[in-house]
């Protein structure tokens, strides 16, 4: 039984057809990377899975919670289901989105206390466990404004983990970071992958994708063009569009060095 199953997902922004019939599933313990040009719909796909964007049409299943959307506004029952989907999916954003008015530890316990009704006394040790995991126990009582970009993103990862989600989703987690800070975030993500965390990662970091992912999905123009193990996708892609994308990426990376 997959942890995430998306069936024939369509998303329109006005007349713009951004997702054109996406179907995909993620198994428990699997690390799946989604790559593709900007504007190909990768981020929108993630944001549809936890309903930050409402799909126009299609079926989303997360951990046996299912929502069927057919061009209608969500019913109150469906809204409740989406909230439970959000509780079971951790989301890490490109722009971190830490709560600036809360200290690091309060950022972490906010959702467990407010959403799950956990006691503070129970939430704090849990939060500290994940803070230690991302290596930032010493920043426990700092405010986000005093952290570097890499530290902010690691706190954001810990914040999502503190809800103990079934699956972690990363939306270009290193794209807003200075190059020298990318490594520390990727290291944390590698650690999570090795521990068997289920992960769905939208990324431009091909090194990470080829090293850590079990499966790579290449998206173009709102569709999944091809998917497979990273070795196969990166060395002998079947589709010319994938080949073109990878070629161009390699060339720009080479010219940057």
């Amino acid at each position: 039984m997959p942890i995430i199953r998306v069936t024939d997902l369509h998303k329109y922004f006005g007349p713009l057809h951004v997702l054109r019939g996406i179907s995909l599933s993620v198994e428990r313990g699997e690390v799946v990377c989604i790559i593709g040009r900007s504007g190909s719909g990768k981020s929108t796909l993630l944001r549809c899975i936890n309903f930050l964007e409402q799909p126009t049409h299609g079926r989303i299943e997360v951990d046996e919670l299912a929502v069927n959307v057919e061009r209608h506004r969500l019913t109150p029952e469906q809204k409740l289901v989406t909230r439970h989907i959000r509780m079971r999916t951790g989301m890490v954003f490109q722009e971190f989105n830490l709560f600036p008015h809360l200290s690091v530890i309060d950022n972490l316990i906010e959702a467990p206390v407010t959403v799950k009704g956990m006691k503070k006394a129970d939430a704090i040790p849990l939060a500290e466990k994940y803070l230690a995991k991302v290596g930032l126990m010493h920043k426990r009582d700092e405010y986000p404004a005093r952290l570097s970009g890499g530290q902010k993103q690691r706190v954001a990862i810990a914040r999502a983990l503190t809800m103990q989600p079934e699956v972690m989703m990363f939306d270009e987690p290193t794209s807003a970071l200075d190059p020298e800070l990318i490594g520390e975030v990727l290291d944390v993500m590698k650690g999570l992958a090795h521990e068997g965390t289920t992960m769905l990662v939208v990324t431009h970091e091909m090194g990470f994708a080829s090293e850590v992912c079990d499966r790579v999905i290449y998206m173009d123009d709102g569709q999944i063009v091809e998917e497979g193990p990273p070795k196969l996708i990166f060395t002998s892609p079947a589709d010319p569009r994938t080949r073109q994308f990878l070629d161009r990426l390699l060339r720009t990376e080479a010219s940057e060095k």
Binding site: H84, F93, A156
Partner: protein
Amino acid sequence: MATQVAIRPTLAQQILQQQAQAQRAFAVKVIISWVALLAFLLFMFSSVTIQIGPIAIRTIQLDRAFIDKYWRYISEGAIETLRICFLSIFCASILALLAALGRLSRIAPIYALSTFYVSLIRGTPLLLQIFFFFLALPQMGIVLSGFIAGVVALSLNYGAYMSEIFRAGMQSVGKGQREAALALGLTQSQTMRRIVLPQALRVVIPPVGNEFIAMLKDSSLVAMTGFVREIMWRARDVGQSNFRGLEALLVAALWYWVMTLIFSAIQSRLETRLARGDR
């Protein structure tokens, strides 16, 4: 090479020193000018006549005995003024918050109620509103004391003006904040209460302080309905019955100025403290 490295910091230090000196000199000049202006203002009320050739410059003559006698009586009105203002700014903030939420609502009647309220209040004078609550509501069987009518009018009036402040405050909280909260499973109202509003309030507090300072003086209009024993009412009370209107008003003016100075100082402190929290 070594000399270059040594010279650079001293040059920077020199520039910084010069800048600091210039700032200090400016501040001293400002203080001296303030003292001079204050002295001139006091001189205007000294009842002295200065003869320069054919021109006689006469200053304003004040009845010191009257001021000594009624100083305390008028001053005690400051407590009532502050009571009115604290109560009104509190109610006005709640109204402003509701109006701002209404203004951001996508439910048509709620949006309409909010914009109608703001338009009506901003389109009529405060003095008229104060009289309205004092005069019109009794016809509906609701008799308000001058104090309550004043607080209601001030609250509604300032609530309408402050709704823009609250709206801007809420809009200053980025979309990413809401998304992060929702993605963690918070409901819409939890997101508003726990994430958006606390951040918006920080933005809102300094301008609300400004509104409070403006209200200190607008509260004098409440005296027009009679029987609200704040500064202005007391000043007019003893001023008119003793034919010493000017003296009484000057005592009132002094109090308004002093209160404004005090609250401006508090407000600017608050502003720097809140700004520091962001760094």
